[in-house]
Symmetry: C2
Subunit: 385 residues, 2 copies
């Protein structure tokens, strides 16, 4: 099996062409894993990290004993073997070449190290259409949310993504209708970078209504998937794909989400990876914001209302306005007691404000320096604004 895979001249050639200057056996073995195992298969991931992709494949498709984890390995083999067909590997490489999708392996120059935080659940490979440099950009933020977004959610997603992209952050999302689409579009509109992680192959426009958007992302950003060309997006793959969105962003922000929205799954991934998590509040009367409020209540998501607060969440900068200076309560009491028309003598103001005459005189001095009160003959009144 393994020999048929690694020994096939045509496939080997395609693998060499897909990553010129690299060892074709490793390329081939990782592509094989991306075909054999579903995204996030931790057993496959553990084998690869312990043995290297080539040996892991050889062992994974053999019947050698492994000792303690015997059952886990046997279960894995039963998952992988039915898919171990040289033709499927060849199809993956050929499909990618046809649409100009670039193959990336962990450790490659533009491989985003952030994905390594996924450990044994990291992807075996990435297929990229567009510029892979976006994946390794110094600052990336994930903006996700409901497909069934409201006009409010779409507007807030666009506002956040546009501002963040314009200030040098690559906007990462999932290419779906609703919030994802608004975020990608605003990033492109601001002339910034954007990455769309797809749940199927990068040759498949899903949803089909986003064909044009994906074409724009391909030409100014990057369309990315861990699944080979031709792979269909399934519910499981949407959920697994969410871990990549959560891992790539320095922070994840959920703009709108229903009570059981798939975006909560992305949020949970971000949380478990230790990435800061933000949620945009909305009307409590809007079902499309219920998931965001839930994230604040149950997942300790930070409430974020603008791009500056998202940057703060990312730890980029803290340009929020400082707390207002506390005004002196005695000053407030004195001003309360003063008229803006009739002047009153300090003793009368003191009694009315409940302050000593001495304190009143001192405060009148300060306030008069600030131009907030004025003396008229023997009395004081508030200065006109």
């Amino acid at each position: 099996m393994i020999d048929a895979l690694l020994g096939d001249g045509g496939i080997r050639k395609a693998a060499a062409a897909a990553r010129p200057g690299h060892d074709p056996a490793t390329t081939l073995a990782r592509v094989a894993w991306s075909v054999l195992a579903e995204p996030g298969d931790g057993v496959a991931g553990a084998l690869i990290s312990q043995l290297g992709a080539v040996e892991a494949l050889r062992f994974g498709l053999s019947d050698e004993s492994f000792g303690l984890a015997e059952k886990t390995i046997q279960d894995g083999r039963r998952r992988w073997l039915p898919r171990a067909q040289p033709r499927a590997i060849g199809d993956a490489l050929r499909g990618a070449a046809e649409v100009g999708a670039r193959l990336m392996l962990p450790g490659d120059a533009e491989w985003p190290g952030a994905l390594d935080d996924l450990g044994d659940h990291a992807p075996a490979v990435l297929w990229v259409r567009g510029d892979p440099a976006h994946l390794a950009a110094p600052s990336r933020v994930s903006i996700v949310g409901a497909r069934a977004a409201t006009a409010y959610g779409d507007a807030v997603a666009a506002e956040l993504a546009g501002d963040l992209a314009a200030t040098g952050n690559v906007v990462v999302s999932g290419g779906a209708y609703g919030i994802d689409g608004s975020a990608h579009r605003a990033a492109l509109g601001a002339g910034g970078g954007t990455v769309a992680f797809l749940a199927g192959g990068v040759d498949r426009a899903y949803p089909a209504g986003h064909l044009q958007l994906f074409e724009r992302i391909r030409s100014s950003g990057a369309l990315v998937s861990e699944l080979p060309c031709g792979a269909a997006p399934t519910k499981f793959r949407f959920l697994s794909r969410n871990r990549l969105i959560a891992a790539l962003g320095a922070a994840t922000v959920v703009v709108e989400a229903g009570w059981r929205s798939g975006s909560l799954n992305t949020a949970a991934h971000a949380s478990s990876l230790g990435r800061p998590l933000g949620a945009v509040p909305g009307p409590v009367t809007s079902a499309a914001s219920a998931g965001c409020h839930r994230l604040m209540r149950e997942y300790d998501a930070q409430c974020v209302t603008n791009a500056a607060e998202v940057r703060e969440l990312m730890g980029v900068d803290a340009d929020h306005p400082g707390a207002e200076p506390r005004s002196d309560p005695d000053q407030t009491r004195l001003l309360d007691a003063m008229s803006s028309r009739t002047p009153h003598p300090p003793a009368e103001l003191a009694r009315s404000a409940g302050l000593s005459v001495e304190r009143t005189r001192a405060l009148l001095g300060t306030l008069s320096l600030e131009g907030r009160v004025e003396q008229i003959e023997t009395g004081w009144r508030r200065a006109p604004l």
Copy 2:
């Protein structure tokens, strides 16, 4: 001075009438303090708690030395002396008698012990129009917010207050336009109890447009102030009044608030008293919700979206829905791979789902028991919903 106050026969008689069966000297001394000192005067409070109200008054109006805190006491005396006029005390008692306001002192049967948490800043007395029992009700919640509320805020305040009042919680607020008014009205509408803390005397309807509302609160709830009848509401008194609202509620909820709203002051009091603090989210595009979002970000306020969540905040009960059961990811993968029309044999489903044939067969068994898949001859398909 003190002898003129405590010795005046007319005032003594009025004090005895205001609290029948209690020591008139104490009554008189506390009423005097409520006239001499502005709300929350910590020096007056410290003297009263150390010496008792009568001795504190005698000492506070004397020129006796106090040792270490000499300057503090001297400053206090300079605040109190200008107001120490027997007539003002008489006016306070007479004004209350005229509108039927009941005088309450700490320790009285219906005095709310929660206010004692304010320490030296606790009120010297309370003047109550309506039923003082509301103050000592077993469960009280404070609902406050912006005067310049939006229709959204008014609706949410009414929804929360109505539900909480109907389930036995006294709704505490400040009687202002906007959120406060909506909360009081909804509590009354639900046939529940409500307490309005006013910033001036309970004989003064402020704002005047709430005259009718205050009349309804007086007859079915309680209008309360620490200031004597005739006292004008001032900015300082509004701010001091907020500490009473924060202290009386088991929790404080801010429904809408601008970035610098006075409600944030109430929230800060609640926080510093260790009372749970909730904030209702709203659109990030609404200036009327900016303060609520600020409370979540800077004051660690809990996001609350309905009455059940407010009850949870109060620690009353936790009737929130449990987390949804996690579905088995393998099951999701198998169902993804199945058609609802064409049946497929288990081996084919296994390959397509990336599962072992054994696992696939086992899952098909479970799913078929649940009626979610069906076997047609040698193949399986999803059952119609």
